[in-house]
Amino acid sequence: MDYIKANTAPRREDRLGTCIEFGGTVGGIAEPFCQGCLKNRRRSFSQGTICQLLPAVAILTSLQDTVVIVHGAIGCGGAAHALGANVRLGQWRGGDKNPRGALWLSTNLNERDVTSGGEEKLRQAIVEADKRYRPEAIVFLSTCVPGIIGDDIDGVARDLKDKVSAALLPVHCEGFKSKVMATAYDAIFHSFLRNLIDGSDETEFPVFDPEAAQASEAIRRKRLVNLLNVSSMTGPDQKELIRLLGKLGLEVNMLPCDAHPEAFRLAPLASLSVGVCPTHDDYFMSYLEKRYAVPYVGSHMPIGIENTGNWLRGVAAKVGQEAAAERIIAQEEAELGRALEPLRPKLKGKTCVLSAGEIRTLSTARLVQELGLEVLAVRPYHYDPFGQPEVERLSDVNPGIRLNVATAQPFEAVNILNRVEPDLYIGHNSDNVWAAKCGTAVLPIYGSNAIYSGYAGVFDVARRIHRHLENNSFNERLVKNVRQPYRESWYAEDPYKYIIGAELTA
């Protein structure tokens, strides 16, 4: 809880010992990680990748009635052009028939601002955004340039607090500060907890009829749970999770993605927080528990059969619905089993490599094992204590599965793919093309308005894998006609040649 007193959230490297450089097997990471041997590593060859700004832009531009100001040079928020497509989709789902997409500004810092400071430009942008768009909240993100020149974005927020009508939320996500992009989740929740949740009070959700309404509101809040979604979740994913929670009789307050700022203010009044990704939400949920006595559950990502079941059981145990959960799980699993039967023989024994965010990669690996595929390698973007139970479960099936912790770094991926030659690659946006150029069939690991979560997700992933394996001629022809940028000699080298382990200083 003490973290919240500081202006910025701690780096994940410091809070959790998170690392992004490892090459070995799922059976071989626990020991060096626990002994701290993976700290202080780095790569002597690296490729441009994702910093904490990108997930921050992805999550924050999806908020309703909110303007995002990227305080930095003109390129820093550019990812929103791609992410805006999802935002548009979310607005469309919410009933807007002419959706505008993500609304964001760049403070457009130039050479003069680098010398004389950017605070004035940020102040102007906030005041003008408040006037022009009348949003409920204005979130402003500090990037590398203000981080180096020393702009005080918290000071700007304090100065303008009473001069604008929107809630002001400064978020620190300077790319050079942390090498773990997941630090973004903490950075966002940190600001929302400090500036939106703490200090808001129950009277913002007034109950007008003293007796009947209060009674029904009390009942509603008892059934109300915070569902912590992630930006890689699609509309159909969210619908599936709401469906499953609904079967336990629960009502959902979903946040942070696609949420209205009100959802954050309501969060401390809910009876439970439910996470869907252990490495995403612990910062937020643990604070709500300590400060507002809202318990939480969320040690499983509801992707895969076993994971979805365990996720539901976890929720049910907190709300005294264990028996109901078992009934639901048995029923869902039976139904899913019948649907999967004709697909199973076609998937059996196919080999697979996966790459994306930590928990996403490891849970999806379990899912494909459940479908009868063989997992040859997993490439989580980072590794921290939350990944450990997931890795152990993969290790129970085969401790020799290759494990490469890397935030993208396609040069390592291509080297590994060249060795293990899988039938299928399941990867993150922007990773996939390098596997495609190896001729591998590809299923994106999230997005495309498809479903991956819950029981419906298991079936759909199976169906789509089968589709990609049925005709891979696009990628098979690609590999024959284009080439990777690496010298031939690279394929004979150890894929982890450029990871420099500074074990002695650990």
């Binding site: 690296s46 441009g48 390129g75 990812a79 940028p485 000699s489």
Partner: protein
């Protein structure tokens, strides 16, 4: 020039523009000396704004990058850069490596030239350019990189080759149709008997760039983009340059060809023969769309939103060649006053005689306001002058505006997120036929 915030900037920072430009050159691999997220920000931006232009040979998240951290910023990032260049040369294959800096090393003042010297004196082709994002937009990045190449990579030529020209002014990525536009203009100029360096197409190679000092003229199909490059060539290689608005459609392209012809003293007959031949080809197609154009009343009022290349070029084409009525042209590039006058001059002299309101505005959500200031006023009559039927040509950010106005819409200008672009181009005579296809298909699609 805008010195305030910009809403949803349409394109890249200087580093992004330079990375896309370097990646578009055959055999060139960029090495970023930048924070770890620059690669991702550029690539996701590229994903959403360039007609799904992918990473290519070594772009996207494959671009080698020093990914400097806080300690490098405190102690200087050159050791890390040195290490990154060495390891890149070890495993990545390229004919030329270009070190491009992001904001962080530019602010702390890393002297990348020392690293460039070390490796180029070792016989490697390595050059560098300072492209920190705060130095400007993607157009500036294109210009900083190309002028660096003109200064440090292009071979000084003993003699100029008559009829050899370099073509600049189309910025990869900022123009989603860059390849098609360059190819169309290149083929056209070749028909004048010229040897053309277009640098970025499948018909170009790095040798062309290396030998570009032999050209006798640099042709910029832009009054704004590539000027620094043209000046570098002029200073360093003694090559004069000519700037001309991006030519789309027969009217603009005829003017363009005559100006190039005049600058190179191409015989008048050769020039006029080509023009009449191209015009004949154009009208062979236009003749056969004339039925529908006239039967179905495919004339439109138009709003045009685009950068300083596209906004005047599209406006002139739809007015002078397509017979439409552009009423509002929004130039989204942030320009100096004297540059605004250049555009005002082009659009103040449309040969069809139409008058169009030209505004300079970066912010997508402000476009509607500019329109309502010139929109036909409601009167108390039963019979209203209305802005219909109407068409909005702009980026995908203008789609909600078109929907609000009940207008048709085509995305042409950056960001292009709702179209896929491969070899399509709108420049020249032939390109404008594709533009007619695309515009009128939007209308025909509703039938």
């Amino acid at each position: 020039m805008t010195n305030r915030f910009i809403e949803r900037p349409r394109g890249f920072c200087a580093l992004g523009g330079a990375v896309l430009t370097a990646s578009a050159l055959p055999g060139v691999v960029p090495i970023m000396h930048a924070a770890m997220g620059c690669g991702g920000s550029i690539y996701w931006n590229q994903y959403g704004s360039t007609g799904y232009l992918g990473a290519g040979y070594c772009g996207g998240l494959s671009v080698p990058s020093s990914n400097i951290q806080e300690s490098d910023i405190v102690f200087g990032g050159l050791d890390r850069l040195d290490e990154q260049v060495r390891s890149t040369l070890e495993i990545v294959e390229a004919d030329l490596y270009v070190i491009l800096t992001g904001c962080t090393p530019d602010i702390i003042g890393d002297d990348i030239e020392s690293v460039v010297r070390k490796y180029s004196s070792g016989g490697q082709s390595v050059i560098g350019a300072e492209t920190g994002g705060f130095r400007g937009d993607g157009y500036a990045g294109y210009d900083i990189l190309l002028s660096a190449l003109a200064n440090s990579y292009v071979k000084p030529a003993k003699a100029k080759t008559p009829n050899k020209i370099n073509l600049f002014g189309v910025v990869p990525g900022q123009d989603a149709f860059w390849r098609g536009n360059l190819l169309k203009l290149r083929s056209l100029l070749e028909r004048l008997g010229l040897e053309v360096n277009s640098f970025f197409t499948e018909r170009d190679s790095l040798t062309g760039l290396l030998g570009s000092g032999e050209a006798c003229l640099n042709v910029l199909v832009s009054d704004f983009f590539g000027l620094r490059t043209a000046e570098a060539y002029e200073r360093r290689h003694g090559i004069p340059y000519l700037t001309n608005p991006l030519p789309i459609g027969p009217s603009a392209t005829e003017d363009f060809l005559r100006r190039v012809g005049e600058a190179l003293a191409i015989p008048r007959r050769t020039l006029e023969n080509l023009i009449s031949d191209e015009r004949r080809g154009y009208f062979r197609y236009v003749e056969r769309i004339a039925d529908a154009y006239n039967d179905l009343d495919w004339q439109r009022y138009a709003i045009i939103v685009g950068d300083a290349n596209y906004a005047p070029a599209l406006t002139k084409f739809v007015a002078d060649d397509l017979g439409w009525l552009p009423r509002l042209t929004v130039v989204t590039t942030s320009l100096e006053g004297k540059d605004e006058e250049k555009i005002d001059r082009v659009l103040g002299n449309l040969s069809c005689g139409c008058k169009v309101k030209v505004v300079y505005e970066t912010d997508p959500s402000e476009v509607a306001g500019h329109f309502w200031r010139i929109a036909p006023r409601r009167s108390d009559s039963l019979h209203q002058l209305s802005f219909a039927p109407a068409f909005v040509i702009g980026s995908h950010l203008e789609r909600p505006l078109a929907t609000d106005l009940g207008a048709e819409h085509l995305t042409v200008t950056c960001p292009v997120g709702n179209r896929v672009v491969l070899n399509r181009g709108y420049a020249g005579f032939e390109g404008s036929l594709s533009l007619i296809e695309d515009l009128l298909s939007v209308i025909a699609f509703q039938r």
